[in-house]
Symmetry: C2
Subunit: 189 residues, 2 copies
């Protein structure tokens, strides 16, 4: 099982569809690291080109992995130890390719249905067969069109029985990891 997650702070879009860089937030680091660790993610890449934001993310992670936080809460230390801060998608793709020994299948996520959609069951099965996968999640209003196009495919939007699907990226990442990697009880296997 070779699955990495990347949280993109640039390039993402704002509510008007313009490309922006968003700010790193504390709970995006914690919640996605905790879900990642639970579901067996190898590396949780946090992508921001801004030096101050990289430093901030590094300080938060360091507090829990090397500082006081980890001594009080070792589980949190274990979760945040999977975080690596990087400056661009290109850098993450190169590092993940080197780590896996081959280019991973890059899957973007989006709240709107896209053309190159791959089904969850198919990806789940490919992961079980050993295909390395890199999942891209966007902050703000989502990944920029260039990242959606750069990916090998896009996962279907998460839907319930309503027309509403404005999940936080923390919720979306958690649900997608569960769909792809969660244990199922017999009737759901």
């Amino acid at each position: 099982m070779k699955v990495d997650v990347a949280l993109v702070h640039y390039p993402v879009i704002n509510r008007n569809g313009e490309t922006i860089g968003s700010a790193v937030t504390n709970l995006d680091l914690h919640d996605i690291a905790r879900a990642g660790k639970t579901y067996g993610v190898g590396t949780y890449w946090v992508i921001t080109p801004f030096k101050e934001q990289q430093d901030l993310a590094g300080q938060i992670v360091g507090h829990w992995t090397q500082g006081y936080g980890g001594s009080v809460n070792p589980d949190r230390s274990s979760a945040l130890s999977i975080v690596t801060v990087c400056s661009s998608y290109a850098e993450v793709l190169a590092a993940a390719t080197k780590k896996f020994g081959t280019k991973p299948l890059v899957l973007a996520t989006c709240a709107k249905e896209q053309v190159a959609t791959l089904r969850y069951a198919e990806i789940r099965s490919r992961i079980q067969q050993g295909t390395p996968v890199l999942l891209l999640f966007g902050t703000a209003w989502g990944l920029s069109p260039e990242l959606l196009e750069a990916a090998d495919g896009v996962l279907p939007p998460l839907c319930g029985p309503t027309e509403f699907n404005h999940l936080s990226v923390r919720s979306a990442a958690s649900i997608i990891l569960d769909r792809l990697l969660g244990e199922r009880d017999e009737k759901e296997a």
Copy 2:
């Protein structure tokens, strides 16, 4: 489909298993409201006995449902409109029973396997058949033993392929709503 969610701030346990009251946090309100709205939850009950905490939760919700926030972001207004702040589990159970016209099936959630465990597929099927369900989520280190016992059953802990399962309550609630109410593509139906 009749499903409510309750987020409990008292009685919950701390890391030593002692019963405490926890603080309301902004993103617990937002993330679980957004997931709730996406998956068709009727009411998202926020339980705290502390007057100041009830006021804080009410102010946050009011900012988005009646104040400036909602005019800028109507989707967030729509999500937070499902929140109702209450002072105790007993109050929520009475209000939910009145709303549904019958006592709902109360399901607790816990990161550790419990005796009275019900499977996700079974609950999913009962929800589809019209059974009203109230899902209880605990903040801090989880629901107190008395709430676990008061429930009609406990959902299985969320597991991935690791021994680690320290999810945030935001992640756990999102994943459980998706397991019980999410649309599945054909192969997963």
